[in-house]
Every structure is written in structure tokens, then in C-alpha cells.
């Protein structure tokens, strides 16, 4: 098992190096960062000096190696736009994104799984059909549209909820949280729903499909023949066997929630990493873009690893094989 984890870790280093290389190749096409750092009156010589100081006149591969070298030492450079060390910026923004993502994930799982089970067990009931129709809408509507709709209804028309920002936050020194103030909690409602809708509807449909499959298998029939209670069959046998593929998808979706918080964060001006990244793109802030992409790659790698370990925990057959 340990060996397996170590092997996976080595693989993930390779994955991250590849991500970094691709990212640096792409940075050549996003524009010229210097124009955003100087003003109209800056001389051409001055611009060239800055370009040289930042090493932007070096070939891509040199820039890439410099980045990898520094990153290995935990050094991610200074943001061109905000003039602050990138590590510090990301640490500042991380709590906002993580709180939003966790609340969304809880919403998506807490509502998605029971709903999926319900629709599978009561296929013919009209409520189940209604849920399925709603989930179809949820899967197909783009996130920003859901966000804008919510803003228009609950922010502009009814004026119940704030339309942007995180509200008042409490600074705990190493973490800022919006979970301890009323305005912080109110500010969380719309963004977390916006972010959760897609994942939730996906989980409903997935759990339902898997559950229907499992309910048709022989051992479920056998369980019924043994006279087990419905409850035990559905939750003890069927749901447990449904979960293996569901966990894979959910794991990746949790990564996606963090990564794709970008859109939700820009719609709600949520001061998290996604917003930082979007602004970095428009200002060609290469150090921020690089660090963010690496962080997201890292998150996915870790989640995949956790998912692999969870397989073993859930499915005893894998344990004996290894």
C-alpha cells in the first residue's frame, strides 16, 4: 500500500511538471505583461529594462526551468499586478475559495445523493419525474446564467441577499472566515447555490443510474428472496455497491468545484483564488497564473490519490488483490 502511494506521488510530480510546461507555452500567447505595468510616458528603454529584469526576454524553456527551480524551493515570485508575493496572495485568497467550495460540495452531496436514491427507488412517482426534469435544467444551464438569475431575483428585486463580495469576515490570523457573521453567511448563499447546482444535478443523475443498475443484479434479488427488509437492501447492499463509480466522479467533481469556482467568483466578485486568476489573465500576471495552475493541478492529483485509497476501503476485493 505504501509502495503504491509512493509510486503515485512520483507520477504526480511528472503530471505537475507537464502542467507547468504547457502553462508556460500558453503564456507566450496571452499578451505582453509589460504594457500593464507601465504607463503611457514610460520610455522604450525603461520598458526593455523591466522586461530584462523579469527575465521575460529569455526563451520559454529557460523561463520554465527558472519557474520549476524556484517552485521547488517554495518560491513563486511576485505578482506583476499587485506587487505582492504570489504565495502570500494565494494564502490570502484560499480561505474564501475553500469555504465556498466546501459549502457547495456539502450542498451538492447532501441533496444530490438522497435525491438520486429517491428517484431510483420511486421511478414512476411524479415527484421523481419532476426532480429529473429539474436536474436536466440544472445540468444544461451555464453557471454564470444561474448566478445572474439569482442576483436579479434575490438581490435586485427582493433585496434579500447581497449581490457581491463576502460580507464582513472575521480574521483568525491564519484564516479569514465569513461563517461567523450574519452578512458573511448571507453572502455565501447565492454563490454556493450557483456553484453547487451543476454538481448536484450531475450527482442525482449518476446515483440514480448506478442504483437502477445495481437493483437489477442477482444478489439484490437474492437478498429480497431471503426476506431482508427493503431498507437493508436499499442502503446496506444497493447503495454501497453504487458508490464506487460515484466516488470517482464525486472526487473529481470536488476538484472541479475548486477549479471552476472561477466563474461563480467573477459573477459574485467573490474574493477567492478564481477571481484572482481571472484578473491575472486579463492583466497577463504570469506569476499568479503559473502558481494557480500548479495549485489546481496539485489539488486534482491529491484528490485522485484519495479516491484511489477510498476504493480500497470500500471494495474489499481490491484489498485481497493487492
Amino acid at each position: 500500500m505504501l509502495l503504491y502511494i509512493i509510486r503515485r506521488l512520483v507520477q504526480s510530480v511528472l503530471v505537475m511538471l507537464t502542467v507547468a510546461l504547457i502553462a508556460f507555452t500558453l503564456f507566450q500567447f496571452v499578451g505582453d505583461p509589460i504594457n500593464n505595468m507601465v504607463d503611457q510616458d514610460t520610455t522604450l528603454a525603461e520598458r526593455e529594462r523591466i522586461r530584462k529584469e523579469l527575465g521575460l526576454d529569455d526563451p520559454v524553456i529557460v523561463q520554465f526551468w527558472r519557474f520549476v527551480e524556484n517552485a521547488a524551493r517554495g518560491e513563486f515570485g511576485v505578482s506583476y499586478r499587485l506587487k505582492k508575493p504570489v504565495a502570500e496572495l494565494i494564502a490570502e485568497r484560499f480561505p474564501a475559495t475553500l469555504e465556498l467550495s466546501i459549502i457547495s460540495a456539502i450542498l451538492a452531496l447532501g441533496i444530490g445523493i438522497p435525491m438520486g436514491v429517491y428517484t431510483a427507488l420511486n421511478r414512476e412517482r411524479w415527484t421523481a419525474k419532476l426532480f429529473m426534469t429539474l436536474s436536466l435544467i440544472g445540468v444544461s444551464l451555464p453557471t454564470f446564467l444561474i448566478g445572474i438569475f439569482l442576483i436579479l431575483i434575490f438581490g435586485v428585486q427582493l433585496r434579500w441577499l447581497p449581490t457581491f463580495g463576502r460580507g464582513e469576515v472575521v480574521d483568525l490570523g491564519w484564516w479569514t472566515t465569513g461563517l461567523l457573521t450574519a452578512s458573511g453567511l448571507k453572502s455565501l448563499i447565492m454563490p454556493s447555490i450557483t456553484l453547487a447546482v451543476f454538481q448536484m444535478t450531475l450527482i442525482v443523475r449518476l446515483v440514480r443510474a448506478e442504483m437502477l443498475e445495481v437493483l437489477r443484479t442477482d444478489y439484490i434479488r437474492f437478498a429480497r428472496a431471503r426476506g431482508l427488509k427493503d431498507r437493508a437492501i436499499h442502503f446496506g447492499h444497493a447503495l454501497k455497491n453504487t458508490l464506487v463509480p460515484v466516488i470517482t466522479i464525486i472526487g473529481l467533481q470536488v476538484g472541479a468545484i475548486i477549479a471552476f469556482a472561477i466563474i461563480t467568483e467573477s459573477v459574485f466578485q467573490w474574493p477567492g483564488m478564481g477571481l484572482l486568476f481571472v484578473q491575472a489573465i486579463s492583466e497577463v500576471d504570469i506569476p499568479v497564473m503559473a502558481a494557480y495552475l500548479m495549485l489546481i493541478a496539485f489539488v486534482f492529483v491529491v484528490i485522485n490519490l484519495v479516491v484511489d485509497i477510498l476504493y480500497v476501503v470500500i471494495d474489499p476485493r481490491l484489498r485481497t488483490e493487492s
Binding site: F29, V30, G31, D32, P33, I34, N35, M37, V38, D39, Q40, D41, T42, T43, L44, A45, E46, R47, I50, R51, E53, L54, G77, V78, S79, Y80, R81, L82, K83, K84, P85, I148, I151, L152, G155, V156, R159, P162, T163, F164, G165, R166, E168, L180, T181, A182, S183, G184, S266, V267, F268, Q269, P271, L275, L276, V278, Q279, S282, E283, V284
Partner: protein, 533 residues
């Protein structure tokens, strides 16, 4: 116990939040599309940042709501001889942390502005030396005559020498610097202005409060200001409509109707001092990205004239700008010093003449040419380019339009990209609000040594205009200076060096709770904000 504690904490927090969320009487909340880049007044020389900091810091001079130059930290000034200016400084002014303002602070500020990472170097280089006559009188000498000096100094904000020395901030710190040892002034401020920075979270929120010891009597009754950058236009408008903020800018032109229809808010508009124009590559021997090979048709003044007369500025105003643009015949706006309304006649829209000129120049069937355009820099920039393309199509010119985000657009068309554009759209607001700035950046021949003509992307070049620009830079007699300006404008118009389009509209969304002054340089001066009781 635990739950009890938690509910207590929640209740406390809820009470605090309630208190915080209802805007108190003299609180003003506003949003812009981006944040101020830094609190360092000698950091990036960018309109919004300087405009924002102008509430905290002050220069020797300043602009009032109508863009007239008025005294600030200097009470009066006179030109002793063409290269010497004498400024009398305001007495009894204190910085926000209590230090006295005097001549030494001005000298210190100038030196700081010349430091390596300063964004105000160009401005500081207009000054050769500052001599202190007494604590409240200084004499500034310039390397040559600089008639616009008093205007330029409006943007050179005075910092306290003592404070900067104490916090090791005697040099401007910028972006590019990895070292943070001299970055104190990027996150702290101590100016002489009417507002004090209370707290700042870059990109999230900046809170200001009124300076009770301010020397002036500004119109404003605002005691507390909350500034939030909101990058998405739709979110900005929603925040305004929902009453969470009192002012949002810019708002999209297409949202004006919606804003005006909503209760309690209105769209505020007026001409901005920014001129939008088209430029043509007149220096390459072969035009890039064109069907014409081996020569450059834009070197022929008839072709340039044909382009100018094919574009219907009124149609652009009515169809694309919703009636809110001001067609222009000059490369500078009415608010710019040196503007002469008699010269401001746009090129006449005359497609028949265009076709005739093209035929005379040897292109009876027109030709194909590429066009570069930003799509997130100016008001409706991409739509204007599309309209221009379709208008040119009517006279036989096929335009191959490339509209890109500003970062990519500028990387291609500016000097760093080798001025890689045959035909482009650009906008310009002169930082000094003086014609000389337009001439020396856009219109003179490109000259790397003298740092001139950097934004003359099409390489227009006329020796007489160059001479006139030097004369305008040095001439202190207003009548003679205006004559030079008019001569330069006439040459440029006759040679079709550029095709001016219009002044674009300012576009703010404002709550009826407040009254504000909309300055033509798109600066929101909090001195003019009044909250209605």
C-alpha cells in the same frame, strides 16, 4: 455550553453586521471596475489610481469639477522667466499624521519621483532643480521652457519627508521589485487630502474616513467612504440597482435604459476627454496583411483621404453609441488645453468622393487590408471597428478585422510588438490635459532617443509638425502658442495623418441618494460628493 457560546457569538456578529449593512447618513459606497494599483502616489502613473489617491494626497495644483486648474498645496504661482517658476506654498497645512507641510516636502517628493522604480519619472524629469527660498516659497527651474508645468504638477502628489524617511519609503517601490523592504508606502498613506485611508484589502475593499483637520472647505459632507472594485459589469450594475452601492462606473452604455427605468438610480453621462481615432501605417514600404503587394497604398494621401471620407461618424454615434458620442475632427478633446473649436470639423462623409479618390490612386476596385482593434478597452470598441469595416466595404475596401483583448492587442501594435499593424483603432487622453502631450506621443515622427512618438503606431511624420511641437513645448505666450497648435492641426488634417472618430461617453450609474460631479477625465473626486440627508 459550547452551543451557547456559539449562539452568543452569532448574535453579536449578527448585530454588528446589521449595524454595518445599513448605510449611515454620511456614508458613500462606490465601485469601479478595478482597484487602485497601489497606495504609493509615485507608483504606476494610471488615471484611476491617481484619481483615487487624489482624495488622500494632493499636488501643488489640482483640477476642479470642470477641469479648470486651481490652487491646492500652492496658493499661487508665476513664471519668472521661461525656465523658472515660483510657487508660494500653502501655510498651516498638516499631513494626516500631524507633520507640517513645507518646502522640504516638495523637494523630497520631486527627488522621490525620480527614483529608479518611480512611475512619475517622466513628470519629475520636467524639473531640473527646486530651490528653497524660504519654508513656503520655492523656485522650480526646468531644463527648457515647460508651459504646462503647473498642469503636470497636479498629478505629482506631495509626500511627507519625515514620514517617508521614518518608514524607509524614500524611494518609490513597484511591482517589479521582489524586495519588499521599501514597500511601506504601497500599503500605507499619509497625505494632506480630505480623506484618510482606514483600511485596505487590495482587490476587495478600501475604507476611507474624513480628515477632520483638512485645510480646505470641500463641498462634500461624506464622513465615510467604502470603495469596492467589482470587475464584472453585470455585477456592478446589479450592486447599484440593489442599493448596495451609491455609484458604479463604468456601466455599459446598453444598460442606460435599464438603469434609468429602475427606481432611485440614474445613468450619468457626458463627453470624456478621450478621443477615439483610426491610424494607418504610413511608414512601411509594403503594407502588411493586405492584398496590395510591393507598395504601401497608405503612403498616398488620396487613399488616406478616401478612408476618412468613407466613414460616417454620425451613424456610429446614432447606431452604436446610442447618441452618446461627440464626432471629432481633432485628435484632442474640448477639455484639453489648446483646443480650438474652429478647427474641430470632422472629415465629411462622402462615399462617392472616396471611390473617386481610390480610383485616382489606382485602386478602382479597392483592396484588402487587415485591421487591429481592442475588444475590452474603449466603449464599444469592437462594434465601432465592425461598423468601420462595413462602411469601408461600401467603397470597395475589404477589411480583415482582428479584434482582441487589450493585452494581446497592445502586445501586437505597440513598439514591443514592432508596430505590427496596417490599420488600427486607438484612444488617447492626454495625461497633462494639454495638446503637447498628444502631439509628442501620437503625432511627431517616432524618435526613440527623445522618447517621442512612441504611440505613433502608423509612423506619420512631418518635419514641420515636429518643429511646431518643439515650439509649442517652449512657447509661454498663449496667443502665439495657439497659433502653432492650429498650424499643426491644419497640417495633420490636410495630410489625413489620422482619422479622428469621436469623444467617447463617460458612463456612470448613480443613486439619487448622492450628487456627484462627473469630471471629463473620468476621475471621481470625493470632494464633490454630497449625500442627501
Amino acid at each position: 455550553m459550547k452551543t451557547k457560546l456559539r449562539s452568543l457569538a452569532l448574535a453579536g456578529a449578527a448585530a454588528a453586521a446589521l449595524l454595518a449593512s445599513a448605510a449611515s447618513a454620511q456614508e458613500f459606497r462606490y465601485a469601479f471596475q478595478a482597484d487602485a494599483q497601489s497606495l504609493d502616489p509615485h507608483g504606476l502613473n494610471e488615471t484611476f489610481t491617481l484619481g483615487f489617491l487624489g482624495n488622500v494626497y494632493e499636488g501643488l495644483t489640482t483640477y476642479d469639477a470642470d477641469m479648470n486648474l486651481v490652487p491646492a498645496l500652492a496658493t499661487k504661482w508665476e513664471v519668472v522667466d521661461p525656465t523658472t517658476w515660483r510657487f508660494e506654498l500653502r501655510k498651516g497645512v498638516r499631513f494626516q499624521e500631524g507633520q507640517d507641510f513645507a518646502a522640504d516636502d516638495v523637494i523630497f517628493t520631486w527627488k522621490r519621483a525620480t527614483s529608479k522604480e518611480s512611475g512619475q519619472k517622466a513628470r519629475a524629469s520636467l524639473i531640473k532643480d527646486i530651490r528653497k527660498i524660504d519654508d513656503y516659497t520655492i523656485e522650480i527651474t526646468t531644463p527648457g521652457p515647460v508651459p504646462t508645468l503647473a498642469r503636470e504638477l497636479a498629478w505629482l502628489y506631495i509626500m511627507d519627508k519625515e514620514w517617508s524617511t521614518e518608514h524607509n519609503a524614500t524611494e518609490a517601490a513597484t511591482p517589479a521589485q521582489a524586495g519588499r523592504e521599501n514597500a511601506y508606502a504601497t500599503t500605507h498613506a499619509n497625505g494632506t487630502g480630505p480623506f484618510i485611508v482606514v483600511s485596505r484589502e487590495p482587490d476587495v475593499k478600501t475604507v476611507l474616513k474624513r480628515n477632520p483637520n483638512y485645510w480646505g472647505q470641500p463641498k462634500t459632507n461624506v464622513q465615510k467612504v467604502i470603495f469596492t472594485p467589482i470587475s464584472q459589469a453585470a455585477t456592478r450594475v446589479a450592486a447599484l440597482l440593489s442599493g448596495q452601492i451609491d455609484l458604479a462606473y463604468p456601466v455599459p452604455v446598453q444598460d442606460w435604459k435599464r438603469i434609468n427605468a429602475a427606481p432611485g438610480v440614474t445613468a450619468l453621462t457626458g463627453p470624456e476627454a478621450r478621443t477615439i481615432f483610426l491610424g494607418l501605417d504610413q511608414w512601411r514600404d509594403e503594407l502588411t496583411n493586405s492584398s496590395v503587394k510591393g507598395k504601401n497604398p497608405f503612403k498616398d494621401v488620396r487613399v488616406r483621404a478616401a478612408f476618412a471620407h468613407a466613414i460616417d461618424l454620425n451613424a456610429i454615434r446614432d447606431k452604436i453609441m446610442r447618441g452618446a458620442s461627440w464626432p471629432s475632427g481633432l485628435m484632442w478633446a474640448p477639455q484639453v488645453n489648446g483646443y480650438n473649436p474652429k478647427m474641430n470639423t470632422p472629415y465629411k462623409y462622402d462615399p462617392a468622393l472616396s471611390r473617386k479618390l481610390l480610383a485616382e490612386a489606382g485602386y478602382p476596385d479597392g483592396f484588402t487590408v487587415g485591421m487591429d482593434c481592442p475588444n475590452n478597452r474603449y466603449v464599444n470598441d469592437e462594434k465601432i471597428c465592425q461598423a468601420v469595416a462595413s462602411m469601408l466595404a461600401r467603397v470597395g475596401i475589404k477589411v480583415d478585422l482582428l479584434a482582441q483583448p487589450k493585452s494581446k492587442f497592445f502586445a501586437k501594435v505597440l513598439a514591443s510588438g514592432g508596430y505590427d499593424t496596417p490599420f488600427y483603432l486607438l484612444g488617447w487622453t492626454p495625461g497633462s490635459m494639454d495638446v503637447h502631450n498628444v502631439l509628442s506621443n501620437l503625432i511627431v515622427c517616432r524618435d526613440k532617443e527623445r522618447n517621442r512618438g512612441k504611440y505613433n503606431l502608423g509612423g506619420y511624420c512631418n518635419k514641420r509638425v515636429d518643429e511646431l511641437t518643439d515650439l509649442i513645448a517652449a512657447e509661454t505666450d498663449p496667443a502665439r502658442r495657439q497659433a502653432y497648435i492650429d498650424e499643426a492641426a491644419a497640417i495633420l488634417q490636410k495630410e489625413y495623418g489620422y482619422i479622428p472618430l469621436h469623444q467617447q461617453p463617460l458612463s456612470w450609474g448613480v443613486s439619487e441618494r448622492v450628487s456627484v460631479a462627473q469630471r471629463a477625465d473620468n476621475v471621481l473626486d470625493l470632494r464633490n460628493v454630497v449625500v442627501k440627508e
